[in-house]
């Protein structure tokens, strides 16, 4: 009963709000993002970021005098649901542009839908290199940094801290764990550091002490790891217990130490470094203004996903204004090579693979909090253009 009442009220409220705006021929942006399930917190940040930027843009007169209207659909982090919802938005709601997909599978699937519908989509979250690499699409853009950029930024920073150092690698034995290590290894070796060994432990290893023998034998100065979740808790605390963490620089993937496991790791997380595309601590006027507005609107700090989703609206605005149109071909042309401002600073959309080039940051755990310790220019971190489809 209350539920029906709520739905009815919100429908009336929605109509009351959107009808006058729609009458002025608004620009419609569809958002297919997880609003339920495991990825809800990410979807929430995406929604908050997009809403904040849309509000600002609309208050300042919209895009080419037209108001921007967001339509949300829950994709449940499931590619097949995402495709259905994207089709609905393209065919029924007639949106001009689509964004919001979180997991890489959804982004790739929705990209194909967009190709069939002749529309453009952008992801603000998905990390998989393939989206703007071997599985690139002329209709898909990525405004956030991909996995390779994070790894390149971290590698560049590590080599600056420890030139010609011995690096040891430890990862979980599955595709992501191995590919993360392989990329990082290639990058640090290219910059002059030396690999002295690697161990791939089974996922969910309980005791990492059995691999400490190889670690001791190799006498590394840097340890690079791609373990995640509970594996990180065990690896780092056991290394700390055995005194192996002393005089060793420990770095890893962006998912190695997260807000979910940092409290369980405790003091053993101190000094852990990783590469990221965004931090609330970026000391620029744009970012300070963004963080303040985001906190005021949502009573929560923005994270990487909120910031990149916020920046996306400005990316679309800049592209439409440059193209003087919302037509797919004209907007695509305008997006290629486009430079625009975001909380992270200036981003450039690379024409060759539709991957945003942006400054990257290295953060380290200091007193239980991630603090920025270095930054790497966008050009240093971007890596090769592997897209061959356009």
């Amino acid at each position: 009963m209350t539920r029906t009442a709520f739905i009815l009220t919100s429908m009336f409220a929605a109509t009351a709000l959107t009808v006058p705006a729609a009458a002025a021929d608004s620009i419609k942006i569809g958002v297919v993002t997880p609003l339920s399930g495991t990825y809800t917190p990410i979807g929430q940040q995406v929604k908050w970021g997009l809403e904040l930027a849309t509000k600002e843009v609309n208050a300042a007169g919209g895009i080419m005098g037209r108001q921007v209207e967001l339509t949300f659909e829950d994709e449940e982090a499931n590619p097949s649901v995402a495709v259905q919802k994207a089709e609905k938005l393209f065919e029924v709601q007639k949106v001009d542009f689509l964004t919001g997909t979180v997991n890489s599978g959804s982004t790739l699937a929705v990209g194909q839908t967009a190709e069939r519908a002749g529309k453009l989509v952008a992801t603000t979250v998905s990390f998989a290199d393939s989206i703007t690499g071997d599985k690139c699409s002329p209709n898909v853009f990525r405004v956030n940094a991909r996995a390779g950029q994070q790894s390149a930024a971290l590698a560049a920073w590590v080599v600056k801290q420890k030139p010609k150092a011995k690096v040891f690698f430890l990862g979980p034995d599955y595709e992501m764990g191995r590919s993360t290590v392989a990329t990082f290894k290639k990058t640090v070796e290219g910059l002059g550091d030396e690999s002295v060994g690697e161990v791939f432990a089974p996922l969910d290893s309980k005791d990492y002490t059995q691999y400490f023998g190889q670690l001791r034998q190799a006498k590394p100065e840097v340890l690079c790891t791609s373990v995640a979740g509970n594996d990180t808790v065990r690896l780092l605390t056991q290394m700390e217990d055995f005194g192996l963490a002393k005089n060793l620089l420990i770095v890893g993937a962006s998912g190695t130490v997260t807000s979910q496991n940092i409290s369980a790791i405790g003091a053993a997380a101190e000094g852990f470094g990783t590469g990221v595309g965004y931090s609330t601590q970026i000391e620029t006027a744009e970012n300070k203004k963004f963080v303040e507005a985001f906190k005021a609107a949502n009573k929560a700090d923005p994270d990487l996903y909120g910031a990149d989703s916020y920046g996306l609206i400005y990316f679309y605005k800049a592209a439409v204004e440059k193209a003087k149109s919302t037509e797919t071909d004209k907007v695509r042309e305008a997006m290629r090579g486009l430079e625009w401002m975001t909380p992270q600073g200036k981003k450039t959309m690379r024409a060759g693979d539709h991957q945003a080039i942006q400054p990257m940051y290295v953060v380290r755990v200091t007193n239980g909090q991630f603090k920025i310790v270095g930054d790497i220019s966008g050009e240093e971190a971007i890596g090769a253009d592997d897209c061959k489809r356009f």
Binding site: D207, Q210, R216, N230, V233, F242, Q260, A264, G266
Partner: protein, 297 residues
């Protein structure tokens, strides 16, 4: 030559000593399992989850200010009625079914899934870790070993010895062994077989809980932690001989040494296949295990 000495001191010796600590952890988990397996002939698939429950109870009580030393006594005592109730309420009901192995295996497997989900709902999916009760590290022959792991080796040995004495030297243990050897004969001689079975199951569950308290600071606490040691523990029970305490100790220490030493030479992903290979070999060559069954010495 100097290189070899260095290898022994800095690589081989620490590896074997950390392997010993891991071995004690495995033996602690396998101990309750082997007693339940050997006596009741019940494959307790929920054993890992009882281990997890012990860890969570310790975590919750520890957070409300109970000291670690008190937990070592309290948690097993809390687990005893739990185990007793499970045996009388669930296992006893299907115990006399013709296909006991299958029904009890499925029953305890289902129970394990229920416990795991319940832990997820009550405590959340994220990993938690109680503080290490004894901090610091000691140097043993130039090898750094965390004090808590050393403590674990010592207390683990003490627990194993205590359990061995209870089973082999006391009147209670004689009841248990008699019931394991021939339950009808034991019953006709006045052994309260049902109570002995339930009590033994409860004892095994209490040991799992105790292992949970002891291992939580090292391996951290999360809902699926029960799966961690369970396959290794089953392997130890099979290789050592179902129900044999000495077998569990020897097999536990042997298998973990094989694991840690082999990981120096081959990729660590091979350590599980090697261990299971040993299990298969034992099953083929000596199916009763290294030390035979409890009550069948």
């Amino acid at each position: 030559m100097a290189g070899l000495l260095e290898y022994i001191q800095f690589v081989l010796a620490p590896q074997m000593i950390t392997g010993l600590a891991l071995g004690v952890a495995v033996v602690l988990v396998a101990l309750g399992l082997t007693i339940i397996f050997g006596l009741l002939d019940v494959i307790n698939m929920a054993h890992g989850e009882f281990y997890a429950v012990g860890a969570y109870v310790a975590l919750a009580l520890g957070a409300s200010g109970v000291s670690f030393w008190l937990l070592l006594v309290m948690v097993p005592l809390i687990m005893v009625p739990v185990g007793y109730a499970v045996e009388r309420g669930l296992i006893q009901r299907v115990f006399n079914a013709p296909d006991r192995h299958v029904t009890t295996l499925l029953l305890t497997f289902g129970l394990g899934l229920v416990i795991e989900e319940a832990l997820k709902i009550v405590f959340g999916p994220n990993t938690q870790r109680p503080p290490t009760p004894i901090s610091g590290a000691v140097e043993v022959m130039g090898v750094i070993l965390p004090t808590y792991r050393l403590f674990l080796i010592v207390i683990g040995a003490a627990i194993v010895a205590a359990v061995a004495i209870v089973v082999n030297k006391t009147r209670l243990g004689a009841f248990v062994r008699a019931a394991a050897f021939d339950r009808n004969m034991a019953a006709s001689l006045g052994v309260p077989v049902k109570q002995v079975f339930a009590g033994t199951f409860a004892f095994g569950v209490a040991l799992a809980g105790l292992a949970g308290v002891l291992l939580a600071p090292i391996y951290s606490v999360f809902p699926t932690m029960g799966r961690d040691f369970i396959f290794l523990a089953f392997t130890v029970v099979i290789v050592g001989g179902m129900g044999s305490i000495a077998g569990a100790v020897v097999a536990g220490l042997l298998i973990t040494q094989v694991q840690v030493l082999s990981s120096l030479i081959v990729s660590p992903v091979w350590s599980d296949p090697i261990v299971f290979g040993i299990m298969v070999l034992v099953l083929v060559v000596r199916p009763q295990g290294l030390f035979g069954r409890l009550g069948h010495a």
